[in-house]
Subunit: 185 residues, 2 copies
């Protein structure tokens, strides 16, 4: 796994292999990226998310969220996000800059249909995520399809760092048709 | 490890125990947090960092960086950062908002003195980190004490999420003297 990427296309392909694996394999590193949004005051905010879809052809990723969560509001205000994966097995850091489209309702009926019943109770809890509560367990799960949203990330840029005998780093941009170029690590 | 925190002080103490462990134990989750800065255009940027110091009394953390790195420039422009740890062993997510002071030169002579020789070559490579290079290995490590900087994070807020039989979430702020209150997870 830790053989170094020799060429720019191989480097780019390696990152997508690991992202796609994150969707399929709940134990893969890319299953649980860290998502950064610009908070209400412009300072960044971070949280772990679950990677639900990865499309190398379109250059898109998908994450599910409660539409009432602070991150959904932050993305509505500023759709520019960053996503981070450290894949220890591949010795690969993936840093993504993306623009998010928030999909809801009829647009996500098929995704909602594939959410397992046990997971549906994460969408529609009361109070909404991040609201103050008087005691630790003063909330209850709830299932509300109207609270289910899909964050579709259109990747703009992917900065990759591979740690090997020598470190290698490259950046790939949609604007350059993902040609990529090497960077000093 | 995954016993849930019963009280707000216990929850806060658990986070610090895990952060301090990250400094001492290179295999602990908190050894390698994800750091978010506001990028040049205001969109967030993320990267893995190494936690070098954690002081529960002062509410501060320390990270080392090359002073010529983009993150150092971004922090100089906007010192508000976020730091994220997912500690699988403790089933704990730590989300930190902090303000950074960049320390260099004489101020960090003692820290530089403790950086192992093998690690010193990370400070002063040529070209500087993030600069374009024509081929993957067209850079060389370098040791330059003037490129060594310590990022001292003064924590403003810590948002903790513990995943157990029931999930528990609380936020602690310096402005409230770390009293904390519960949030809906």
């Amino acid at each position: 796994m830790s053989d170094h990427p020799e060429t720019l296309p191989a480097f780019h392909a390696l990152a997508w292999t690991r992202l796609v694996r994150g969707v399929a394999d709940r134990h893969a590193a890319a299953r649980h990226p860290t998502l950064a949004t610009a908070g209400p005051d412009g300072a960044p905010e971070l949280r772990t998310v679950v990677l639900r879809a990865a499309d190398p052809q379109a250059g898109t990723l998908e994450i599910h969220t409660d539409l009432r969560s602070p991150k959904a509001a932050q993305i509505a205000a500023d759709p520019r996000v960053a996503l981070h994966v450290w894949d220890d097995r591949a010795r690969l850091q993936i840093r993504i800059a993306a623009n998010v489209v928030i999909l809801t309702g009829e647009e996500v009926a098929s995704q909602w249909g594939r959410v397992p019943a046990a997971s549906r109770i994460s969408y529609g809890s009361d109070p909404a995520p991040g609201q103050p509560i008087p005691a630790a367990l003063d909330y209850r799960p709830g299932t509300d399809p109207a609270a289910f949203a899909v964050l579709r990330l259109g990747i703009a840029r992917m900065d990759l760092l591979h740690l090997g005998t020598s470190h290698r780093r490259a950046v790939f941009a949609r604007a350059d048709d993902w040609t990529g170029h090497w960077l000093a690590p």
